[in-house]
């Protein structure tokens, strides 16, 4: 039999962990509310009798229509008729979780409660009378621990049983007599098309005057007047608006219920509270965050990072190149084939793969920070900074995710309520260096270090680039917030903070592996193609009047293309065709910048000798400033195609999309121009026409940054839209 379960519950109570445990999927889990924005479907594994589908819904606190997550969940539960709702209730926070339960039961769909995190009940000194709780609520309760995988079989068995029963108890009354009487008056007024089991839900919503429901159902004008006056009567009598009265009613009911079923130990400051006191301290909060991120990036590209990467690049890749070319020579492969494989594919992909260990370490740190619950605190700490610049701390969440990959970061901006703030975040989220940009940073960091004699501090480049990314977001935000399309007060910041926990090795390693796997797959597909294309373009061309393989790469096709565009980038310090070609391939994937550099360095190098990519690349940049400017340009310009298409679908508007693309590239160009020209003036004393231009750009930017905000007095919140 085909059965459909819906997983519903509060944010961060373990729905996605449960979903993964049930279906064997590897959906992204994180220790903060709102990781899942869209619903996801999967099949329950290990059940042969029935065909069971589970739908993981975004976490919600209620079934009101105010947030995107609520609308998605609510529409699914009411319109797609799941057979059973599996309601995840966090045992450590039972009162708040049961608030949603009372609403889920009202929808008329049978509910099975999974009392999750049951393993923590005893640890916390809690005592829960599940039998009584189950009896009063009228639905079965199974104790589970999604993380440890306990109770899942029992849960599925119970849910299947309930689904097959067909009939189940109708939702019962939970409110005070007055409200219940009002509900009883509304029920008969509802149209016959609403089935008996859903009547109570609609009656409560009609009483609350829920906008979405009111637009959706038909009431005779006479009934409407009766209900309106009934509502007004209750509101005057209880001196509150109807929605608050209902909310209050639910909490009163739950309080009564748990006073007889749950025993809580005396409250004391928990470990989380103690940690929060320090990391969200008004003076220490931001310095701690900066220090943490510095250490993360510094360690990723230096200590363990370089040791492993140097070894892979110098020894491993070269050894493979030698072995493969020897093998191809012995089987008599043509020299052309040998060249495309050795110089093109291995040289290019190898240059990127060499950075895999560094990425793995970065991903490991980021996963630990996310999973332990620290990252979401940062959104709170940064809210003060962001609000000063006209953004909400909520905009910081996509930026945090962006340090892993820009695509989920752009998608995470969905939870930002205000349209203009969401657009702003989508446009700027990819300024944060993603994992794919790490190889670029590491390679260019090495180049820069090589340019400055005796400077061993290449490791500082990676954390510096992270902070450049954040600064770039803030600068862009300040400038744009002072223009009309982006003006408006940010929404108030209200967010639940998860408890700290020691990250589970399984979750963290799974994260790291998932991300690394994505990177390796990309290396094996997009990058191989990119490398072959680049190899072809850099090996063939017109020389001596005829088309063919060229002796000098300067005559190759790619050089011709690059030379054509290069003058545009000359003011930024990298007006040579090699760097231009690398930047262009960066749009396919940011790692392709490194792989292209690998191919070009290999092709240009002495065919007899193995090539050190970094040394080859260093020749293209006359000064360290030029390398820095190249790095910053590639950090801030439009992201890879995959991220660009995500931007397009999230912005969902042609005009905005093109504005975003133009803005990102012009912005990147301006910043790089200023860095290169002013930097060169300071360091090397070079002065020219473009130095003047750089100062004009700087003056313009400073004006945009510090001019009085013409929309400062706008007290209203900007527009928002919630569409499912």
């Amino acid at each position: 039999m085909n059965i459909k379960f819906a997983l519903a519950g509060n944010p961060n109570c373990g729905k996605t962990t449960m979903f993964n445990a049930l279906t064997g999927a590897n959906q992204y889990v994180g220790n903060w509310p709102g990781v899942t924005v869209e619903k996801k479907e999967g099949k329950v594994k290990g059940n042969k009798e029935d065909n069971i589908t589970v739908v993981d819904l975004p976490g919600i606190y209620s079934l009101s229509p105010y947030t995107l997550e609520e609308v998605v969940s609510r529409d699914f539960l009411l319109n797609e008729d799941p057979d059973v709702i599996i309601d995840l209730v966090d045992a450590t926070n039972i009162e708040r979780n049961l608030y949603l339960t009372t609403q889920l039961i009202e929808t008329g769909v049978p509910v099975v409660i999974a009392l999750n995190m049951a393993d923590l009940i005893e640890k916390r000194g809690l005592k829960i009378d599940t039998k009584r709780l189950s009896m009063v609520l009228g639905c079965p309760i199974i104790e589970t621990s999604a993380l440890k995988g306990t109770g899942l079989k029992e849960l599925i068995a119970e849910a299947v049983k309930v689904a097959k029963q067909g009939e189940h108890q109708l939702p019962q009354s939970i409110f005070s007599e007055k409200i219940e009487k009002a509900i009883d008056t509304v029920v008969p007024a509802l149209s016959e098309t609403i089935t008996a089991n859903k009547k109570r839900w609609y009656a409560v919503k009609v009483l609350e005057n829920d906008e979405k429901v009111m637009n959706h159902i038909v009431l005779s004008s006479q009934n409407k007047t009766t209900i309106d006056s009934l509502r007004k009567e209750l509101e005057t009598e209880l001196d509150d608006d109807m929605e608050s009265i209902i909310t209050d009613g639910r909490y009163t009911y739950i309080q009564k219920l748990i006073s007889t079923t749950v025993e809580k130990p005396k409250e004391k400051l928990t470990m989380s509270d103690k940690i929060d006191k320090i990391v969200t301290n008004r003076f220490l909060g931001i310095p701690i965050f900066l220090a943490v991120m510095f250490v993360v990036y510094y360690i990723s590209v230096t200590t363990i990072g370089t040791f492993v990467t140097d070894w892979t690049n110098d020894v491993f890749v070269v050894a493979i190149q030698d072995a493969v070319s020897g093998f191809l020579g012995s089987v008599g492969a043509s020299s052309l084939l040998t060249a495309v494989i050795v110089d093109g594919i291995i040289g290019g992909v190898g240059a990127v793969i060499g950075f895999a260990p560094q990425m793995a370490i970065l991903f490991l740190f980021l996963s630990i920070l996310e999973d332990c619950g620290y990252m979401v605190r940062i959104a709170f700490v940064m809210d003060r900074v962001f609000r000063y610049f006209g953004l909400s701390g909520k905009s910081f969440i996509p930026l945090l995710i962006g340090s892993g990959c820009g695509i989920p970061a752009i998608m995470a901006s969905k939870t930002i309520e205000q349209d203009n703030d969401r657009r702003l975040t989508i446009m700027t989220a990819t300024f944060i260096p993603c994992g794919a940009k790490l190889p670029v940073i590491a390679l260019l960091g090495g180049v820069m270090a090589g340019k400055v004699a005796g400077w061993k501090a290449a490791g500082f480049i990676a954390p510096a680039m992270y902070f450049v990314g954040i600064a770039a977001v803030l600068v862009a935000a300040i400038m744009l917030k002072k223009t009309k399309p982006f003006s408006g007060k940010p929404a108030p910041f209200v967010m639940e903070l998860p408890e700290y926990h020691i990250p589970s090795a399984k979750t963290v390693l799974l994260h790291v592996w998932e991300r690394l796997k994505g990177f390796l797959i990309k290396a094996g597909t997009i990058l191989v193609v990119a490398c072959i294309v680049i190899w072809f373009l850099s090996t063939f061309g017109f020389e001596g009047g005829s088309f063919g393989m060229v002796e000098d790469t300067a005559n190759s096709l790619i050089a011709a293309i690059g030379d054509f565009i290069a003058p545009i980038f000359a003011p930024l310090g990298f007006g040579n065709w090699q760097s231009v070609a690398s930047s262009l391939t960066g749009f396919s994937a940011k790692e392709a910048i490194v792989s292209t550099m690998g191919v070009l360095a290999n092709v240009a190098g002495d065919p007899e000798d193995a090539v050190n990519v970094a040394a080859g690349v260093a020749k293209w940049f006359p000064t360290g400033m030029a390398a820095l400017s190249f790095l910053i340009f590639n950090l801030l310009d439009s992201p890879c195609l995959a991220a660009i298409s995500t931007m397009a679908s999230e912005l969902n508007d042609r005009k905005w999309f093109w504005f975003a693309i133009v803005f990102q590239n012009v912005y990147a160009y301006c910043i790089s121009l200023m860095v290169y020209q002013i930097g060169s003036l300071v360091l090397y004393g070079t002065f020219g026409f473009w130095t003047v231009v750089a100062f004009i750009v700087l003056a313009f930017m400073l004006f945009m940054l510090f001019r009085p905000d013409p929309y400062k007095d706008q007290k209203t919140y900007s527009l928002r839209s919630v569409e499912a």
Binding site: I94, R96, K277, F380, A491, F493, V494, E496, L497
Partner: protein, 69 residues
């Protein structure tokens, strides 16, 4: 008095919630209802983290000013 006036570690009982309607509803759903007890865990220049019904909720100054305890 507004929630922002409570010192770290102090407990208050919610008397009234004002301000922007949507946020007020969101706070209601999180358990901020009249009569509920809140404990201030941390405060940074008006932004507060409070304990309510066994969970921790971060609220910025704008909103915290409008929660009366």
């Amino acid at each position: 008095m507004p929630l922002t006036m409570l010192n770290i570690g102090e407990t208050g009982e919610i008397k009234r919630i004002g301000g922007n309607e949507e946020t007020r509803r969101f706070l209601n759903n999180l358990g901020f209802v009249v009569g509920a007890e809140v404990v201030v865990v941390s405060a940074i220049g008006g932004n507060v983290i409070v304990n309510i019904k066994d969970s921790r909720v971060a609220i910025n100054e704008d909103m915290a000013k409008r929660i009366m305890v």
